[in-house]
């Protein structure tokens, strides 16, 4: 039996890799917390070597099943920087609409199907669905609107095929976009109510100080472009990322842990960071809903990230509709991006946070090497720290209860599926 289990774990390492959390307590005191959330990009970095720069949107889209657009957009930003090309405004606007679709789809899955069940005492989303049918049906419709927007612009619901370095293969017509605009409008009321609903959930009493890191754009709530900002005042361009941030290998995890070079401290990116650093740039309706829901200017309780995600869903709907309103199809659908020997850097705000790419290109555009730093990888060190603090305050809970609360805490940062499906390995060792 044990032998069989080892074999399956190895196999799954090729399919997805393992996620695990280990908590060690002695005499009711926390000795150690180790966290491992699966991150795929390392073997993709190797796979990208030798491929053409034009293939990067199609390959990187497959890194993440729920955030393909984020990978495509970050990779394209890096390639366009390398080749010294800036895409024209219509391309950038259409990219932002596409990205809004992904924010809606990803956040809706996380908020309703993965995180909300924790707050209501359910093992998972489908258990919750039996008792909260209307809520789940509305959430699925909301998610579907996001997916449909991705399909119309991206050409396919997952792994968009219409995206290329320089722009798109074809810009959709207004007629093609009209039906999905209606779906987005239809989902807006539910999205607005969801902000209040998430804020009404029972929140564990838990607060922390974070060093937040997020993109910032002068004109809009940063998603697909911007400079990097932080709680302690960083203001840098993509090419400066590695001067300020470092990754180190941690023994217990296949992921690398990130920290700020200046302080050696762990930091947090994602919705909480964006809310703290850029909230004034949200749409009036989203900001109003957030304030009515009692979200403080800086949210220190990571569990309340579920409310921030609900706010961002509402914002993404608003923003997509705003841009769709003024949208006109454009030709050519892409600008030329002639390759050259160069290193390019690019970043965007994936639903989970900052996603940075770097590529070194040869003269003909062949990828010489690639580095991809995903948000969950950047957050792992800080999430682990957070879990340590959380377990410290809840060590007296019985194992089952502690396990559930820890999962709920991890899901404040990462949309991982419940351990009930036996995928996330959770161990408590009380000696």
């Amino acid at each position: 039996m044990a032998r069989e289990r080892t074999f399956i774990t190895e196999y799954l390492a090729r399919v997805e890799g393992e996620g695990a959390m280990e908590v060690r307590l002695r005499d009711g005191q926390v000795e150690d917390v180790k966290l491992r959330i699966y991150e795929p990009p390392r073997f993709f970095e190797a796979f990208l070597r030798g491929r053409a720069y034009t293939e990067v949107p199609d390959i990187t889209a497959r890194i993440c099943g729920i955030c393909p657009v984020a990978y495509q957009m970050s990779s394209i930003a890096a390639m366009e920087e390398a080749c010294g090309v800036e895409a024209p405004q219509p391309v950038r606007d259409l990219r932002r609409i596409l990205y809004c679709g992904e924010w809606v789809e990803s956040h809706a899955l996380h908020v309703f199907m993965l995180h909300a069940p924790d707050f209501l005492g359910y093992q998972n989303g489908f258990e919750m669905a039996a008792d909260h049918r209307e809520l789940v049906e509305s959430a699925l419709r909301l998610k579907k609107a996001g997916n449909e927007l991705m399909r119309v612009i991206g050409g396919r619901e997952i792994h968009p095929i219409n995206v290329r370095v320089g722009g798109f293969y074809r810009a959709p017509t207004r007629a093609e976009l009209a039906p999905v605009a209606e779906q987005l409008k239809a989902a807006r009321e539910f999205a607005r109510e969801a902000v209040a609903w998430t804020a009404s959930l029972p929140f564990p009493d838990f607060e922390e100080e974070f060093e937040f890191v997020a993109l910032r754009h002068p004109d809009v709530y940063a998603i697909e472009s911007g400079r990097l900002a932080s709680s302690s005042g960083l203001d840098i361009a993509p090419a400066e990322y590695e001067e300020h941030f470092a990754e180190s290998h941690v023994e217990h995890s296949t992921a690398l842990h990130s920290h700020l070079r200046s302080t050696r401290a762990a930091y947090l990116c994602g919705p909480l960071a964006r809310w703290a650093l850029n909230r004034s740039q949200l749409s009036p309706v989203a900001l109003e809903a957030a304030e009515a829901a009692g979200l403080e200017p800086v949210c220190r309780n990571p569990f309340r990230s579920i409310v921030v995600r609900a706010v961002e869903i509402l914002y993404a709907l608003d923003e997509a509709l705003r841009l769709l309103d003024g949208y006109e199809p454009f030709e050519p659908a892409a600008v030329d991006v002639p390759p050259r020997t160069a290193t390019g850097h690019g970043w965007t705000e994936a639903p989970r946070g900052l996603l940075w790419h770097r590529y070194r290109l040869e003269a003909d555009g062949t990828i010489a090497d690639a580095k991809i730093v995903p948000p969950t990888s950047q957050n792992q060190a800080r999430i682990e720290q957070s879990m340590y603090g959380f377990v410290e305050g809840h060590a007296a809970l019985p194992d089952d209860e502690l396990h559930l609360r820890c999962e709920q805490a991890v899901r404040s940062y990462d949309p991982c599926i419940s351990c009930a499906t036996h995928f996330l390995d959770f161990r408590i060792d009380r000696g």
Partner: protein
Amino acid sequence: MAHEGECSPLVDLWSGFESVVLVDACASGAAPGTVLRFSADGAPLPARGMRSSTHAFGVPEAIELGRSLGRLPASVQVIAVEGLDFGPGEGLSPPVAAAVAAVAEDLRAGA
């Protein structure tokens, strides 16, 4: 119809159908090319082998979601073909390709 990625949309895809046959790859530990058959008609699918991601609903979860919402077709049969290599690349490995061809043939013949 084909679907890829996160599986919660399956609930909508198979809405209105009486009977669904879903064909997918799996990683259960069986020999590559092995064809496994499951029925979702009375009980959940075994989760082992059919997990797809730490971050998304897979086929078993989508089925349970449909069941909870009262939207599962009267008959849902799952045919899973054991994969060999899930790494990046193109095409099916020979034992898997052969198994898939046989499954397709069976389905066309109404089996």
